[in-house]
């Protein structure tokens, strides 16, 4: 029985279609991550300035994206934006936008955390040799906090990749949606087809995320050694 079910994956173009679906998820994640990374670093740096208004606004932005589940964000952006603001975007663009904004929000907190964990002595001594604000960020704060930020950022990247699984809810033809089509079209021929299709998707996600998790752990360990050495 288990023998026959696995063949659902090799039937027709099923495998290619599943991988095609994965490609769409990966593409959305990749663009969102790049955009979110840049935006997040800028916002994170801005959040360390002593401007109460700016801080409040950026804090609100963070809290919004932190508190609202991603499924809900996707629906909000997919339905509300076009109906109420007359902006029209395809499902993939909406998804990319949502993920980018979400990534930027979480990233801004990582960046801020990294920057404020740089010892205040470093700021003092940067000021003492006459560096201005921008030079302080560029030469002292960012370079020193980057090492601290990398593991958390990798974890965030892997979260974004995993969250692309929600794309099926807004009609993006992602890997899971394709999987459902396949299960439905072949359901009667492979009674346990869904086991194999979902299993295969499970493995696909694992293959994408596991190297990231290894990398993050490696960096964390290295950081521990550096901190002690």
């Amino acid at each position: 029985m288990a023998h026959s079910g696995i063949n659902i994956l090799f039937e027709g173009r099923n495998m290619v279609r599943l991988l095609g679906g994965l490609w769409i998820s990966a593409k959305i994640a990749a663009i969102a991550i790049v955009v979110g990374l840049v935006l997040g670093i800028v916002l994170g740096a801005l959040r360390t300035l002593h401007n109460p208004l700016l801080r409040a606004i950026l804090r609100l932005y963070l809290e919004f994206f932190r508190v609202i589940p991603t499924v809900v964000l996707l629906f909000l952006f997919y339905y509300i934006l076009p109906q109420n603001f007359n902006i029209n975007m395809g499902a993939e663009s909406v998804a990319t936008l949502v993920f980018a904004l979400w990534f930027a929000a979480e990233m801004s907190d990582i960046v801020r955390g990294g920057i404020i964990s740089v010892s205040p002595h470093q700021v003092d001594s940067g000021k003492a040799i006459g560096l201005n604000r921008l030079q302080l960020y560029y030469y002292v704060l960012l370079p020193q906090s980057i090492q601290l930020m990398i593991p958390a950022t990798i974890n965030l990247v892997s979260r974004v990749i995993k969250t692309t699984s929600l794309l099926l809810l807004i009609s993006v033809m992602d890997v899971i949606n394709v999987g459902q089509q396949i299960i439905e079209a072949n359901g009667q021929r492979y009674e346990n087809g869904s086991f194999w299709v979902y299993g295969f998707i499970f493995i696909l996600y694992f293959i994408l995320c596991y190297p990231l998790s290894l990398w993050a752990r490696h960096l964390e360990r290295k950081e521990l050694v550096n901190a002690n050495g």
Partner: protein, 219 residues
Amino acid sequence: MDWSIVQQGIPTYEKAFLLTLKLSFEGILGAIIVGLIVSFVRYFKVPGLQRILGAYVELSRNTPLLIQLFFIYYAFPEIGFKISAQASGIVGLIFLGGSYMAASFDGGLNGVPKIQVESGRAIGLTDWQLARYVVLPQGLSLSIPAIAANVIFLIKETSIFTVIAIPELTNTALDQIGMLYDTNEALFSLVVGYAIILIPLSILLTWLERRTRRGTFGN
């Protein structure tokens, strides 16, 4: 937006809200227990178990909850293992949350300074006494902010339960949209529902983080 529609929906959303709370609570409690077990096994380097739990952690952290739920709910029955939707949701949340909680506990336990362990040894404490009086109390309080962050994360993840037909907040809202087309009203009620749970938690988290950073937990 039509406020009377929002108002009419209140009883339904209240039920969904309570269900979200109940499932979150049970799942998170389970995740904390699993997390503690995994973390202890790693801290005390229990042979054998360490490896098995290590594999669990990797599977749990590197796959989406949605697929985990599909597996538990749709795929497992095909190989003869069936539990109810709510049970599937809770099991999924525990499966996912256990590894996240374990990481938080690890952080806390490893954050206890080595000198604390040594000075416990120096006054003759046994390994178990060391754990009981020194490592655990300090390690657990150090992990509190990370645990709180996970709680927020896991509560949000319950929104994915919608795919296995559990009538929690998200499912209820999507249903209202699909059947009655009150998109604005449904999304509004939905956001309010999550905000009531998560905003206080998020504020608590910020406070806890600040407290730890200031080192009031420390020496």
